[in-house]
Structure formats: C-alpha cells, structure tokens
Symmetry: C2
Subunit: 378 residues, 2 copies
C-alpha cells in the first residue's frame, strides 16, 4: 500500500470517528498527519489494557470497504494529497478560533464529473429556506448570469434560495455544485432528489461526511464553512435575522472571501439579514450577475458595463440653447423678455435659440408666450 | 434706515437680478457685501453714460414694495444677519467649484411658523417623482418615525417621494418644511396646493427666489442645494439613474452631510439610483426611521434598538442537552447509540438528555428511534 493510499484510508476511518470540523481531530491531523493519528488512536488502551471506546470504534471501521462501496455508487473521496483537492479549502486551517468547530476537512466525498480543483472561478449563492418569490427570482437570475460566464455556482441544495441558485445555474448552461450536510448518496431534502441527481450528472454533489450519513443541525453548520471555503466569494440573497445563511456569511468573512448581499424591500423580513450585512460593512451590495463578477474579479472578461444613461435629446443641445431651455418655465407660458432675463442673455440670442428649440419640439409657442414642449418635458 | 434694513433691501433687489446660485453674484456678495455690490451695479454706466442693462433693471426694482407685498401675504425674507438665519446653510460658501452655480443664498423667503434656525435637527427625505407604491410607503413610514422624534422632515413638495415624506411627517405629528423652486406663494405642483397650504400653516414653505417667481429646471437644481444644506442629513428613498434626487445627494456629499439611501427590489428601476449610491460608498443603507436617527446622531435619545432575536426555546437548553439535540437527525429516526456516537458523548448522558428533550417536545420517540419533535424543528 502506498503512503497516499494509507493516508486516504486513515482519513476515511477518522471521518467516521468524529463530527465534521471537530477541533480535536482537525488539529491533531494537522500536527501529526492522519496515518499517525489513526495508529495512535486505534492502539489506545485504558488502565486495564482494554481498547478505549475510540479505539474500539476505529477497529470496527473498514475504510477499504467504505471506499469500495462508495466507488460502486460513483462516489470518490478526495483528500489533500490528490490533484483534485481544492487547495483554497486549506484556508480553513487559519480561520476561526482553535477551540471552535472548523478546520480543514479530512477529505471530501464527491459525486459528479466536476473536478473540485477547478472551482477557483466559483461563487456561493445562499439564503433563506423560507424565501420569497422576489428572493428566488433574484437568486435564479444572478446564478444564470454568473454561470453563463463560466463561474460555477455553489450552494446547499436546500429549499428556497439554494435551489433557485442551482436551477438558475443549470438554466444558464453552467456548472453547479451542491454541498450537503449528509452523505452525497442521501438526497436532502427528499423533494430535491431529481435536482440533486441532475447536479450529480452534470456538476458535483459534495459532502464532508461519509456516504450514508444523516444530516444534523451541527452538520449543516459545518457544511456552511465548506461552501464558504470552496467559493471565491459568497452572495447572500435573502436572510432573516437568524438565518443559517448568515453562518455561511461569517465563514466567508473569516476566510477573507468576497462577501456580497442582495438588497430587497425594507418591508421584507427576509431581507433584514442582507441589509444588516451591508449596513455593518461586512458585505457589499450587489444587484446583478455582472456586479458579482466584477467584485470577484475572476477575469478581465467580466468588466461591468455601467447602465448607460439613456441619451436625452437635450444632451445634444449647444450650451447656450440649453441655458435658454432651462429658463423656460415648467408650467405657464411667458414672453421672450422674461426668458432672456432669467437666462441672463440678450434678446436676439434668446430669440434665435427659441426658434431652434421650437423646431425640435423642446418649446411650444402659445398666445401668452413660450412654454416647454414634449421634448423639453421629457 | 438701519444697516440691516439696507442689507435686506439690497439682497431683495439682487435676488431679482440674477438666478439663484449665480456664482458671479454670490462671490461678489461674499467679498464686498450686498449693499456695496448693489450700489456698484446700480450706478454702472456704459461708455456713453447710459445706465447698463443691469443698472436699469435694478433701478426698476422696488425692494421695499416687494417686502411689503410679501408681508401682506404672510411671507418674510430671512437674511444672514437675522437671528432666524439657518447658519448651516453657510456651508454652501465652501462647497462646489467657484465657477459652478452654488454658494450661499442671498436670503430665503419663508411662509409658515417654523423658524429656520430651529432646523438643526432635520433630515431631508427626497426621491423620484415617478416613484413606486413601495417607495412612497417607505418614505412615508420613515418620515413618520423621524418626525415623531422631533426631527423636521425637509423635502421639495414634488410628486412621488417628496409628497409622501411631507405627508408622513404630518401623520407623525412632526414638523415638515417644503423648499420650492418657484415662489413660496406659487404652489407647485398645483395638485399639491392643499398640502402646501397645510405646511405653510404648521411648518414652513421656503424658497430662494422671490414671491411670484416661476419654477424652471435651473431653479429646481439650485433648490436641491438648499434642501441638502438646510438638513443635517439626506435620505434618498427611490431614484432612477438620472433622477433629480441624485443632485440633492451630490450636494449632501459636498456639504459633508450624512447621506443615506433606502434599498429596494433589485428588479425596480426606481431603486437603481439608491443602490448605486450605496455601492459607490457614497450613501449608507438605511431601512427605518430609527436607523436614520442613529446615523444623524441628533441626540442620545435616538439610540437604535437592534431587532431582538426571538428567543428560541433551544437557547435555554444546557450545553450538553443542546449538543445531544444537535446530533438528532433532521429527517429519519435513529437509535440512541447513533446519537451518542454523533454527539461524542456517553450513552448514559445521552439517555438522560433525551428524556429531558422528549418532555419538552424537542425530540420524539418512534419505533425506529429518536427524531426531532416540533420544538426541535422550530
């Protein structure tokens, strides 16, 4: 068995031992390596020479069988020594306090053709499960736009914003990656079984916990850090005050990723979280895919095109004519002298300007003098 | 005639001569005073000894009659030497480039009981004329809240956001001030005649141009600088790409006033301007009156109350019980051993925690083991 195989097997075994992000395990793996930690724990005996509970559990593991079973289901286990390992996830080693759940995953279980090392150009689009139609529409539109530019959309396959983001990316003909809190062979929520099948066929379904694992609240929280770490930036589309999406946002901040938030109506509870992130200066306000691409700075091709001012006819006027036009009252008609006084120009100049403005519909002439015409009111 | 009376009359005469914010007049008044400028201009003759056009116009003026006529209409002319002069408007002397329209108004025509020197605690609420129902609702709610805290609401009496702001302040039982582009005796738009009458009876209607003057495009732009200068801060509620409200926002920036913007749906054209101000870092995002009051810092009584997290029942759990609860799968039922393994706790401790969690509805027991109960899913 090669050293890499041994390392992979040790990681499989350890990942069955503790919860994802358990600081005791991630710290020790970082210090002594997975193989040595596994050996040390597996041989641990108590005072009476009996295998400890941990050692007994490790002994009951069969990581080779785990890998073989996974392979039959089309699932691979990607570890840091693999070419496919997404190196940006290593940033988790330095994010968060030592005693907190966090740290670099032991490995990632993957189902689907997308390679994890090709997710550098990616953005997480996350938000409330109890989203509004507005939020889902915004998530879908945004995901369609960024995916159409070759940027992968990462989310958590949950109800609401997550599913809208995945579906938008699919509609944009781009890649999308779902990171689950349970095993990659366990579609959750069940209502998204077909969506997750599609993602597994075209993108990737990813999890830190072994196949067969059930999602728990703790695993959702740990999962959020993987989403934030995989992506170059995170967009929160809708989030109420205590939404789980805000935990993903906090991880994105800790990881110095670009954090973005979509605003919404101030009357919508589902936008209080995103408005809070913007007010606190934690997230930058984004309203569209091009703005997200610009902030990600993923490549020069994403330069945002500022919404062009509709060119107004009055913009084409010479300065003196514009000055005369500005002196024409909005509501009532006035004589030429009055316009000349207001404009601070001579009568002759004003008369000639008004003739031009009349021709182009900027002003109208009536019995009581000049007033704005249809072009002037535009 | 006292020096102050002479100064006031000179300012009335000069205000009939040029357009508001004419840099030639404001600069000269700042340098030599209104009386001397008036004298110099009024006596100016051309090479053949004839009065210049300017001098002829000044000679035709009758500022004493102007003041008397205004007084009969209940209109006063407030100048910098008056106690009522709002000194903060003096900031306009240093805002903007010398050649641009701008500068300190020669005086302000006022109709209404509110004293201009008592507008230190004030906020301008401005926005699109072609506003949405959402924007008008937001403007009204915000104005009601700040006016209810004794902060005057200043706006421009236009259709859309402006009128909603005034009406909101009235509904909040607070003061509101309308700054017009035309004379204070000329309700504009005409549809707001009754609203402006009400403001003139309870607050103040203000203008830089003399009574009888018609509003022009240039006067709307000059008026915007007066709104921004009078108020301690400006809130833009809705603004499309080229909305006039953005000119008020630019003046607020130049004057180092607090600039705020209300977000809205990213799908709304009327929110592109406010989102742009926030994205550019020019304005701070605000969603409610208390947030505006906090940013204005008008007094210690406006401290914002952060939306309290609804206390969740699970927040009251002891850490160990919460840890067990976090290990219970969201969807399917599992045996106690599985929960103990996931939680990393001993069987006995887990059993006792589950008993407690069962009693309080956090978990349920079924034929296949434990799963989340109604409280646990909340």
């Amino acid at each position: 068995m090669t050293a890499r195989d041994a390392d992979r097997l040790a990681r499989v075994a350890l990942s069955r031992l503790g919860e994802p992000g358990d600081p005791r395990i991630t710290t020790l793996v970082a210090e002594m390596g997975a193989v040595r930690l596994h050996e040390a724990l597996a041989s641990e005996r108590d005072l009476e020479g009996v295998l400890t509970d941990v050692a007994a559990r490790l002994a009951a593991n069969d990581p080779e069988r785990d890998l073989a079973t996974a392979a039959r289901l089309g699932i691979r286990y990607v570890v840091p020594s693999d070419d496919e390992w997404p190196t940006q996830v290593g940033d988790l080693a330095h994010a968060g306090a030592v005693h907190e759940r966090g740290g670099v995953p032991l490995g990632l279980w993957v189902r689907g053709p997308s390679r994890l090392d090709e997710l550098n150009d990616s953005v997480a689009v996350v938000g409330s499960r109890s989203s509004t139609a507005y939020g889902e529409g915004a998530a879908r539109a945004l995901a369609t736009e960024v995916a159409g530019h070759g940027v992968a959309v990462i989310s958590g396959a949950a109800f609401g914003i997550d599913q809208a983001a995945h579906r938008g990316a699919v509609a944009g003909g781009g890649r999308t990656v779902a990171v689950l809190a349970g095993g990659v062979d366990r579609p959750y929520p069940v209502a998204h079984t077909r969506l997750l099948e599609h993602i597994a066929e075209t993108g990737a379904v990813v999890s830190e916990v072994p196949p067969g694992s059930a999602p728990t609240r703790q695993r959702f929280l740990s999962r959020n850090r993987v989403i934030a770490a995989l992506a170059r930036g995170t967009v929160v589309v809708e989030a109420a005050h205590r939404s789980g999406a805000l935990s993903t946002a906090r991880w994105a901040e800790r990881l110095s990723r670009t954090l973005m938030a979509v605003p919404g109506p101030v009357t919508s509870v589902q936008s209080t979280g995103t408005h809070g992130l913007i007010r606190a200066g934690a997230a930058q306000l984004v309203t569209s895919g091009p703005e997200v691409l610009e902030l990600l700075g993923t490549s020069g091709s994403h330069l945002i095109v500022e919404p062009r001012s509709e060119t107004r006819a009055r913009d084409a006027l010479r300065p003196r004519d514009a000055r005369v036009l500005d002196a024409v009252p909005v509501s009532r008609a006035v004589p030429t002298e009055s316009i000349a006084r207001t404009a601070g120009l001579g009568l002759v100049a004003v008369q000639s300007a008004l003739t031009l403005l009349l021709r182009d519909g900027f002003v109208e002439r009536g019995p009581h003098g000049w007033r704005l015409g249809p072009q002037g009111r535009a």
